[in-house]
């Protein structure tokens, strides 16, 4: 038993829903109580889908338990088939139905429906949402895709984009642009927009592009084994990664790597003098492994940031993330415990967080700007405009998105210079964020509480030193305070004067 407040991932059947909802002509019959229908709103509200997810829930009740829940499942299955006439069906149990052990897969099999019925085994008490997406897509591919003759022209499948994905809709378009330039055609995109008939045609492609390993790696491996299709290992997020991706794809497809970067602006934007202020910004990365991996490389190599912490919530990818962290001289944080992520961020005291919507909330509380780089998603992560993460345009979008929460170069200095100005104090924030400057207020109770926790009992800040500390820009003040205290403690001092503050500053200067 584990006490959880906020979760990064839902249960595995929500993963299955993400696959089903992304597809067409597929229906999911889910053995589940009525309350589990809440999951529909994730798709209709967050993603603004104009259709209900293709999911029929059995919605059994307490009084059915002793009676015939299996019968309810069978009836629901038949009614769903008759109403929706799908090309294929997936069937499975939610956490509650798993306990009553009706075996939806077995039941559906005996019904003799004239379409493929694919049973899902998603252990709700061990696994989570991303396991559900990967496993569901794999089962669908395994059941429907068979080896077949290759297309005459060089073609690939795009694997992994699905419902409630972070910018999946636009990433697909961006990858298609890259492929068009290389003269590679698209055989099937799946699950996004695919029908079961499309899945059956996967084998005609020459290779697979594994866009999101957390959702489609099992399927890609299966296709490699069964249909002899190689798949790409590089996820083209960021300039460097997109170059690598094009080269990798060219190699496995036996074509020329054609790179056409007229639309790519990120490198110049990053070189231009206004970006100097980005140098060495201390950033903390957290999210799904795919996006964190890509973001780490962009942050260090393309933005000139200093990565001070990184981690992911999907344990399945703990190993590559640990390796990556080591390369950055860091210890990876592999956790789905929101409070421990918050603590790690607080300790690292970054100047910016690149995280999920959960970290955006953490950032709000700690007063640290945050840009969102990964699922779990929020309605804001589905903008009306074209906004990919992958490819050249993705690199441009990422540049804009990441610097947006920051206080711009000159403004940062002005804020420091006019610290005492009533309109220009620390809490005023960046001028481009709208809203009106609020009068300096007491820190939020939470922050206050924590601040007290971290201050040592023995260390006394002399009044003048404390005043001096307040003159330091708010986004580095926490770090300055901790460094000074550490510096003093190491020297056995119990009081901090202005001198101590500046000695510590000199000591830690890079």
């Amino acid at each position: 038993m584990k006490l959880t407040v906020w979760t990064y991932e839902g249960p595995p059947h929500v993963g299955a829903m993400r696959v089903a909802t992304a597809m067409r002509g597929l229906h999911y019959v889910l053995h589940a109580p009525q309350g589990d229908t809440y999951a529909d709103l994730l798709f209709t509200m967050i993603e603004r889908r104009d259709h209900r997810p293709p999911v029929t829930y059995t919605t059994f009740e307490g009084r059915d338990l002793g009676a015939d829940t299996a019968g309810i499942f069978r009836d629901t299955c038949r009614a769903a088939y008759e109403r929706f006439v799908p090309q294929a069906m997936i069937v499975g149990a939610s956490c509650t139905a798993e306990l009553i052990q009706d075996d939806p897969g077995g039941l559906a099999e005996t019904m003799g429906l004239p379409i493929p019925v694919i049973p899902l085994e998603l252990p709700s008490y061990q696994r989570k949402e991303n396991f559900g997406t990967d496993e569901t897509f794999f089962q669908i591919v395994k059941a429907l895709a068979k080896p077949m003759p290759r297309s005459t022209e060089v073609s690939v499948n795009l694997l992994g984009p699905l419902a409630l994905g972070f910018r999946h809709r636009d990433d697909i378009e961006e990858i298609k642009h890259l492929l068009a330039q290389m003269g590679i055609s698209v055989n099937v995109v799946a699950p996004f927009g695919a029908t079961p008939e499309h899945i059956a045609r996967l084998g005609a492609a020459h290779a697979n592009i594994l866009m999101y390993p957390e959702h489609a790696e099992a399927a890609a491996r299966h296709l490699e084994r069964v249909c002899d299709q190689p798949y790409t290992k590089t996820v083209p997020i960021g300039v460097g990664a997109t170059h690598d991706f094009v080269n990798e794809l060219a190699r496995i497809c036996g074509v020329e790597p054609k790179i056409e970067t007229t639309r790519l602006r990120q490198p110049w934007w990053s070189k231009s003098v206004d970006s100097t202020y980005l140098t060495g910004k201390r950033v903390f990365l957290f999210g799904d492994a795919t996006h964190v991996q890509a973001a780490a490389r962009i942050a260090r190599d393309e933005m000139g940031f200093d990565v001070v912490g990184l981690g992911c919530y999907n344990r399945e990818f703990a190993r590559p993330i640990r390796t990556l962290a080591k390369e950055f001289g860091l210890e990876a944080l592999i956790s789905d415990d929101y409070l421990s992520v918050e603590q790690a961020i607080e300790e690292a005291a970054p100047e910016m967080i690149l995280g999920t919507q959960m970290e955006r909330h953490i950032g709000k509380r700690l007063g640290i700007p945050c840009a969102v780089i990964s699922a779990p998603v929020h309605v804001q992560d589905f903008p009306a405009r074209y906004s990919p993460q992958m490819g050249w345009e993705g690199a441009n979008v990422i540049f804009d998105t990441w610097i947006h929460p920051l206080v711009m170069g000159l403004e940062e200095h002005l804020l420091t210079m006019f610290r005492e100005d009533f309109e220009f104090h620390d809490d005023a924030g960046a001028s481009h964020h709208g809203g009106k400057a609020v009068a300096p207020s007491a820190p939020t109770p939470k922050f206050q509480e924590r601040a007290q926790d971290t201050s040592s009992d023995v260390m006394v800040w002399l009044a003048c030193a404390e005043k001096e500390l307040k003159k330091i820009p708010f986004f580095v003040r926490g770090k300055a305070k901790r460094n000074t205290e550490k510096f003093a403690a190491e020297r056995g001092m119990s009081e901090i004067s202005v001198d101590t503050l500046y000695e510590a500053k000199a000591h830690y200067a890079r």
Partner: protein, 427 residues
């Protein structure tokens, strides 16, 4: 006083009820925690459930406003399912850890879920055990918010019903208001009644444990919400008596609700008029302004919160709408009877749900406005039908006079918006 005479033969009170049994598209009772934990400021709601339950709470809350909200889910894991003894030990451990981190907690609710009920985890016994272990500082109670036993607002009912047996005994003749409303509306209700000379007035749930009402044979109570059937029964078992009235939505509902209480306490007509005349006029003006877009329009209620019948009464009688179907997850006649009796005959009354069949009826009727859950709203909009998300009716202050205009506004906004966009497109 001009009590509208219920027109028995032609009201919905005797309309046949279409009972449906099929796929339901309704939240489970856990959802009530979202507002209950804001109302009860020293309570913590610990769901004993699965990752699904945690995800529901997170998704229904929409945004994660609070760093450490006063609710959480003890997620059952493979190991807990293996043996009962383990699950209880684990629960005790998690509770001890929680209470030591949150010394502000005075009431802890163990909330049962489908998984905890299917594995027959005895939360009543766990609550007793934990009450003893953490007395006198914390009282531990339990109720079920599971989807196999409760829908949406029944969670609040189950929670309040669980509190009734432990309320202190009192012989005082006191009025208790039942239901968790936003403070602003609760205060309005208390002010109106106090101005009539009624008092003291207590509320269940109170914002803190020590302010809990005391109950006995001289207690009279009035429900603020139509879904409090179990709580009503529990209070009646303790000898308290319920004041029957329509629910306080709109000018008419509020007046009838207040009048029923006034009569119980012998308030004279002049006093009643002095207190209510001005806000009644205000409410009527506000409703008139906000309901212009609603007059003559048709409305279809999908089952959601059990507020459907009182709200249909408000929309049909005060806003000039015509109800096509009034669907409720569960109809408690004892509670919504007075509202039902005021709705003119005509609309189909349905209880339970078979969502696809019901959606077929929506498509056939093509109502001007469909009141439905979040999972259905955008898909129906995409079919060209205007919708109102039902959940907003539970989260927004909508009771009593001063909110009557806002309540009408919640329904008219989608229609006004559609009209604006259509005009804009035609320009």
């Amino acid at each position: 006083m001009n009590t509208p005479a219920p027109i028995k033969a032609q009201s919905c009170a005797h309309s046949p009820v279409l009972k449906e049994r099929g796929q339901r598209e309704v939240f489970c009772g856990l959802t009530g925690i979202i507002w209950l934990h804001r109302k009860m400021q020293d309570a913590f709601f610990l769901v004993v459930g699965s990752r699904t339950c945690a995800h529901l709470l997170q998704s229904a809350a929409g945004v994660m406003i609070f760093a450490e909200p006063r609710f959480g889910t003890a997620i059952l894991e493979e190991t807990d399912l293996a043996g009962m003894a383990d699950a209880n030990d684990e629960l005790d451990r998690e509770v001890a850890r929680l209470l030591s981190r949150r010394p502000d907690i005075k009431q802890l609710f163990l909330v049962g879920s489908c998984p905890s009920e299917v594995i027959k985890l005895d939360l009543a016994r766990a609550a007793e055990r934990l009450t003893t272990a953490h007395a006198p500082h914390v009282r531990v109670l339990n109720y079920s918010g599971s989807g196999i036993e409760t829908t949406f607002t029944q969670g609040e009912d189950a929670c309040l019903a669980a509190m009734v047996p432990v309320l202190k005994e009192s012989q005082a003749r006191e009025l208790v208001l039942i239901g968790a409303l936003p403070d602003v509306v609760e205060d309005q209700a208390i002010t109106l009644l106090s101005e009539m000379g009624i008092g003291p007035i207590r509320v269940l749930p109170s914002s803190r444990a020590e302010g809990a009402p005391e109950i006995g044979e001289n207690t009279v109570f009035a429900c603020l919400q139509p879904f409090l059937g179990e709580t009503t029964a529990a209070l009646e078992r303790r000898g308290a008596r319920r004041i029957t009235a329509p629910f306080p939505f709109g000018e008419e509902g509020t007046t009838l609700w207040l009048r029923a209480i006034a009569e119980e306490f012998g308030v004279d007509d002049a006093t009643f008029a002095r207190v209510t005349d001005a806000p009644r006029v205000r409410a009527r003006t506000a409703i008139d302004n906000a309901s212009a877009a609603l007059r003559g329009k048709s409305v279809f209620f999908m089952p959601d919160s059990q507020l459907e019948i009182p709200l249909a009464r408000f929309l049909t009688r005060e806003c000039g709408m015509e109800a096509v179907e009034i669907g409720a997850p569960y109809i408690h006649r004892g509670l919504v009877g007075p509202d039902l009796a005021l709705i003119p005959e005509g609309p189909r009354i349905s209880e339970g749900q078979d969502v696809d069949v019901q959606l077929d009826r929506v498509r056939t009727a093509r109502p001007d406005l469909t009141v439905c859950g979040l999972g259905l709203a955008n898909p129906l909009e995409a079919e060209g039908l205007s919708t109102k998300w039902a959940i907003e009716l539970v989260f927004t202050p909508v009771h009593f006079y001063e909110q009557a205009g806002d309540l009408a506004g919640l329904f008219s906004r989608p229609l006004r918006r559609r009209a604006i966009l259509e005009q804009g497109a035609a320009r």
